[in-house]
Subunit: 389 residues, 2 copies
């Protein structure tokens, strides 16, 4: 696997910090939001004397409670249709390994979550991109675009909804269009829905699990990481009505023995997080998003669509190459002894040359920090030698 | 992946329990030993407000402390030569994925830990067995046996020391012989040392990391699971002096983001487990082993070598087929309303037809339970219809 553009920047961020500079991390999806108390308390009140393996598919009481929560949002599954995984990451790996043979392909609208490439490489699978563009706000590409790249080797389509890195939320209409392609060509639909709760402007999330008649096609990937701000728990889930996929995925799950027990205990408790927690988080993100989108669009030459979900946005910058710019801002620039780290969007495209004028920004910092980061970015764009008018 | 013989037995064990029968689990390596208090307390006293991703290679303070502990036992590594993994399982996966291409081969003395096959299959790698036998107490096969199966596709040799499933502890002499083969044919030596602390009869563990001049060849896999009886924490480690392997493994580690944070916190604290804990555990296992080996060898037609390490043994039983016997004892037999679950050894051999008269027994139960289990097994062997004189 090649090093991603963002990983190349890590030593430069360290270097800036070693010079005493404050670095605002707009590059990562690590929210600063507190983990729900109810989850932390479950860990603090742990009474177990032996930390044993759990069932390879996850603790049964956890899966039962998770299924009940899914049913509340009309995802009609029972606990046998859920496999608890080590983070959403493992859910993606298991989904691919259980359904795609080495040398086969999956289609993914780009820009896409860079690690889809990593998991695919590990499974010997090729990710075939179709491009969504900033001009359409990163909406789902036309059906015709999918059909152009479908071959006998195509096994499925991966989506992330709401999207990382674009923040785009697929509409019910787009989801139904996807469902039609999937049915027509007998594909799997891998639906990464880990940002499900982060939908803004009154828009509603339409799960792939809602698509009627596609029970054998849809594999949903989920995670506690973002929902409860507990990325380090490493707990996710693979959810599907397809028994053959569940059976095969379970064999991979048995090989790795069990998902983490501590994380499952926290995850099960987190299902009782009060509605007030989500309301606060939601309001916090809306405020951050609105502030950031406005600040970005005020900068000359910058273009930022208003994302309908998640906590990322892909922004157009008036620069020659964001790989170079992101390095320059860390190494050569400072504004009141501050700088910012951003993810060059080239790492989210698999078509060579795309994303050269885009960065992904995560609005996971508190507003005061976001404000300083935006001020710094604005000042940098004014003096960057590779600026394009 | 085919279902392993042991997994096929799970529903029969459930069935026996549903009839009110007590089932003694001799089939799994889940110790009943308590997790050290110092590890559990670290979790109970958790002060973190946000459970964040850790560094993809693991929390630095944990790696530093782990390196210091390794140096105490003359494994000379620093924290940059350690990658914290999600259980020993992930260490094995990363080691294989970082060094072996799909279609290539690794050699493993059989019987071997069944999941090596699972991880290899996932990585597209073929495990080539060479057979060790109960008559030699499962000692390392002759060098000639290795050389017979080394081809241009061979990338390395996997060992588990002390061994799961046999309990065999490789001597320094055997390790040096292995080192010679590895050097001569420029192979990797993957050394699974998760049972390092469980060595009996005054025998000392000789780590693959001790082999001089093989720094670029040896990849050690480790885990907290058995050492601290915290299998559910899912924390392991990949340890090597080979920088290229570390760099590649780190890319796989970055794709899955980070190992579990809670488990790492417990793992770091567990490094302060007092010597008295290990002494107690050691004495407990010695007592169990001696009791069990004696009880087994007393049964007519049964042969059980005395294992030098770990907490498993592979036992010869006077039966037609242990797959059938292990199913029969769960489904058709009871002794004072008790029965036992054992792992048919066929699942630990990859040469077809081997292990048909052997089972793996884990002595992870307390002595009273082991005594009842032995009594039950003895009674079963007397009446089993497929008994061979």
């Amino acid at each position: 696997m090649p090093a991603s553009p963002i990983r190349k920047l890590v030593p430069f961020a360290e270097e800036a910090k070693s010079k005493g500079r404050k670095v605002y991390h707009l590059n990562i999806g690590q929210p600063d939001i507190r983990t729900p108390e109810v989850a932390l308390n479950a860990i603090r009140n742990l009474e177990d004397k032996v930390i044993e393996y759990s069932h390879s598919a996850g603790i049964e009481s956890y899966r039962r409670k998770m299924a009940a929560r899914y049913r509340e949002i009309n995802i009609n599954v029972d606990h046998t249709e859920i496999l608890v995984t080590t983070g959403g990451s493992e859910a993606i790996s298991f989904a691919l390994m259980a359904t795609v043979n080495p040398g086969e392909e999956v289609i993914c609208p780009e820009p896409f979550y860079a690690n889809y490439n990593g998991f695919s490489t590990a499974a010997g699978v090729k990710v075939v991109p179709i491009t969504s563009t900033i001009d359409s706000g990163f909406a789902l590409p036309d059906i015709a675009e999918f059909e152009k790249v479908i071959t006998p080797k195509t096994r499925g389509i991966i989506i992330c909804n709401p999207n990382n890195p674009t923040g785009y939320l697929y509409s019910e209409k787009e989801m139904r269009r996807l469902g039609e392609i999937v049915k027509k060509h007998d594909l799997y639909l891998y639906s990464d829905e880990v940002y499900r709760e982060f939908c803004y402007d009154g828009k509603k999330h339409f799960s792939a699990m809602y698509l009627e008649g596609l029970e054998e096609h849809v594999i949903m990937m989920d995670s506690v990481s973002k929902r409860y701000s507990m990325c380090g728990a490493r707990i996710g889930a693979l959810v599907t009505k397809n028994r053959a996929v569940l059976d095969t995925a379970l064999k991979f799950a048995q090989a790795r023995l069990s998902p983490p027990s501590f994380g499952q205990i926290a995850g099960e408790a987190a299902l009782d997080t009060p509605a007030s927690y989500f309301k606060e988080v939601y309001e916090e993100y809306i405020e951050r998003r609105d502030f950031m989108v406005k600040a970005l669009n005020k900068m000359p030459g910058v273009k930022c669509p208003s994302p309908g979900g998640a906590f990322y946005t892909v922004v157009h910058l008036p620069v020659d190459d964001t790989d170079t710019f992101a390095e320059w801002i860390l190494r050569e620039f400072e504004y009141e002894n501050q700088t910012v780290m951003m993810a060059p969007a080239s790492g989210f495209y698999s078509t060579p040359g795309l994303g050269k004028q885009e960065v992904r920004i995560a609005y996971v910092l508190k507003k005061e920090d976001l404000a300083k980061a935006m001020e710094t970015l604005g000042a940098a764009l004014k003096v960057y030698p590779g600026r394009i008018k």
